[in-house]
Amino acid sequence: MSNWIDDNDGVYVAGIGMHAYQFPSDTPYTHLGLAAVRGALADAGLAWPQVQSAYVGTTSIGMAAGRVMFRHLGATGLAVTQVENASASGSFAFRQACMEVARGVSDVVLAVGVDKHGDGRRAADKEGLARLSDTATVPAVKFAMMARTYLRERGADAQAMAKVAVKNHGNASRNPYAQFRKPRTLEQVLGSPRVAGDLTVQQCCPRGEGAAAAILVSGRALRRLGLDAARCVRVRASAACSETPETSYGAAAVDLVRASAGAALAQAAIPASRLDLLELHDAFSVEELLYSEAVGVCEPGEGAAFLQRGDSQIGGRCAINASGGLIGMGHPLGPTGIGQIAEITRQLRGEASGRQHEGANWGMAHMIGLGSVAIAHVLSRGTA
């Protein structure tokens, strides 16, 4: 079966760059974004004038964030497109870049996510429809309900969920780009202030700011530009979808993850069991348990047991959120999805010093965003 992403001799991540995620500060967004872009250029061994097009994922900075930032790199006249899709803004910017390269429109494209902590304004609050509850569009409430249902239906206790946060804070403590860099014990996670239902504050992602960048090249450009093929990671699939009527109460998010991840795995022509790495949307701890089942790295109902056995740890069967995830690494929105791509790229190259998942060949970056939308990318070592 043909795969559109291979049409231009393949799409490769040639360079990655980051500005560490951090708590809200007075640092201008341009400083955050430029650090990531310059890092990605240096990592790829490319110069700014070689970049033909750029996609900017952001939610809270305002109109035309890209051009304002890019002029400090030199006014090359490249095409600039801003992408907003809530938590998945960066992921969708990356997808746009993939499509542009795959279709042969450009051979060298930048995807950058950059954000500052904003006011969280949502389109859902502007659709002119009142709601019975003013928290109806607040994600923490929705996921607290999902957590309560999960615990009751599985006969699990709050510890099962809290262990996600313990793992991910531990991974983040070894990630120099993470917003939280302290390991947390189960007692600390469970003892932190409660937010909603059974979710405590250390099981919820922080808001913050930061930037992440990836430079994509075609297979043709990879050779023409003499890039280091051994450090280029291949994009094998890009799949996106939005919410459909849920199959049962509370299943909408899980249905969405299952559909998008399944489509990406089909495109990449691998089963979920081949994934060595999975970065996913753990804005709230229960999500990792649910989505690890939905993606298929463990059996339905096995999410908590998969974690308990250490199968989702770095060094386990499939390292889930080796970066620290949204809970530990942070969730500045615009950059988050591209930060996932950067983490998987680093891991597949064998360059994730201090948190390396050895022998990794395949990884998936999965995000969901308000609305709800979902997106999945599958990446592999260039030789996999």
């Binding site: 002119g128 429809l129 009142a130 709601r131 019975l132 509850s133 003013d134 928290t135 109806a136 607040v138 923490a140 409430v141 607290a144 309900m145 957590a147 309560r148 249902t149 009751r152 202030p193 409660r194 937010v195 909603a196 239902g197 059974d198 009527p245 109460y249 509370g250």
Partner: protein, 142 residues
């Protein structure tokens, strides 16, 4: 109490109105002329079932309430000015229509998943409007 509520306006008049008993609420739906299904609230710009623009939809009032699907206590103010603790609940208010509602009171012990709920009017500070809160149907004043 009932007389006091009759003089107040609904906080969200597109969602509900005071029932004839002067204490409980009626929810306002649009009945799609194309597929016959209900949409909530009545002023939605399209039927989520079939996509009809609902321009010829009939406005339908039904007793406010439903089946409790899930509930959690909110421990911190997630919105400016929000009072906590508060219990948020997912409620099946009609076939295929699930809405988040606010329970009256903050004691979870009287709630269980699957129980029937009734929507009642609760006067808001200021004495001009009432809001929708949910209570267990058993024992609710109707």
């Amino acid at each position: 109490m009932t007389n006091e509520l009759r003089g107040l306006q609904p906080q969200h008049p597109t969602l509900y109105q005071l029932a004839p008993d002067g204490a409980s609420l009626e929810f306002l739906f649009a009945q799609c002329a194309a597929c016959g299904k209900l949409a909530f609230p009545a002023n939605v710009p399209g039927c989520s079932h079939c996509g009809d623009p609902l321009s010829n939809a009939k406005k339908v009032a039904r007793p406010g309430g439903g089946k409790l699907l899930e509930f959690v206590t909110l421990h911190v103010p997630l919105l400016p000015g929000m009072e906590v603790p508060r219990i948020a609940a997912d409620i099946l208010i009609e076939d295929g229509i699930i809405e988040e509602g606010v329970m009256a009171g903050s004691d979870e012990s009287c709630l269980r998943v699957g129980m029937a709920l009734c929507a009642v009017a609760v006067a808001l500070p200021g004495g001009e409007t009432f809001a929708c809160r949910f209570v267990p149907a058993e024992g609710a004043a109707r």
